[in-house]
Amino acid sequence: MKQKIGTVVDQALYDDVKVLAAQERRRIADVVQVALAEYVQRAKTRRAERVGLDRFLEQDPLPLTGAFSYILTAPPPEKP
């Protein structure tokens, strides 16, 4: 679902965006969407780096299904 937003930006910046978007044959809305997605992704990246190895001490959100649960039903046998 798309959300309509309205905002105010610097005139010179908007002029540059319009020119570049036209050169790349992209819509302004697409440019804004990519920029917002990158902003969110970078913020999440910084958070993960800040958390560091603490993340390894938290509960794993991924299920151990299929092969993983099969492998993990018994300890690996000792080799002679």
């Binding site: 993960a48 190895l53 993340r55 390894f56 299904t65 092969a67 993990l72 690996p76 046998p77």
Partner: protein, 187 residues
């Protein structure tokens, strides 16, 4: 074979992918305790770019097969006998290189990999001569590519202690291998 808890404080030790996975999966308190000791710098945990890539790839596949890839595209390929080590995949999913649409939506594996890059573990560099040494180690000990490369790097750095949950390095002389013995299946 030594227990993970026997690793002395101040040690500089190579952490095999299996240790990172066991800790992340939450199936071995000993592996988690080792990660905690690395975090507190009581132990200097070392990883190579190959271990990092191996971890990244395995977690990416795990995340992709836990909901993103339709179940009818996954082929169950269970071995007839029990696997010889813990890190064996018996579920064959279509190559992820064919599915950029899926990879783009995965997030957990990436955050896990970033966590390993937070600076709490030592990430080694790779030198061209490591590959020559790895080829020798493959021939000598029957090691697979990533394990032989990591061992070649460890040797160059003077590291002779390795923490691993599988048996890959058993045949290598002169190594001190630590292994978790507290495997707890996750429910």
């Amino acid at each position: 074979m030594n227990d993970l808890s026997e690793i002395r404080s101040g040690s500089r030790i190579l952490l095999h992918t299996s240790i990172l996975l066991y800790a992340r999966w939450g199936v071995s308190p000993e592996c988690r305790a080792l990660i905690k000791r690395c975090q507190g710098k009581a132990v200097q945990g070392v990883i190579t770019p190959f271990i990092l890539a191996d971890f990244c790839e395995r977690r990416m596949r795990q995340e992709a097969t836990s909901g993103y890839i339709p179940s009818d595209e996954i082929v169950e390929n269970r071995p007839e006998s029990p696997p010889s080590g813990p890190i064996v995949y018996s579920r064959v999913a279509p190559p992820l290189s064919d599915r950029p649409d899926i990879v783009r939506n995965l997030t957990v594996y990436a955050d896990d990999t970033r966590a390993l890059l937070s600076g709490e573990l030592e990430l080694t560099s790779v030198h061209p001569e490591d590959f020559l040494e790895a080829l020798f180690l493959q021939k000598m000990h029957g090691l697979v590519t990533t394990d032989s490369l990591s061992l070649a790097i460890a040797r160059r750095l003077g590291i002779n202690e390795i923490a691993a949950a599988d048996h890959a390095f058993n045949a290598v002389q002169g190594l001190i291998i630590y292994r978790p013995k507290d495997f707890v299946p996750r429910t």
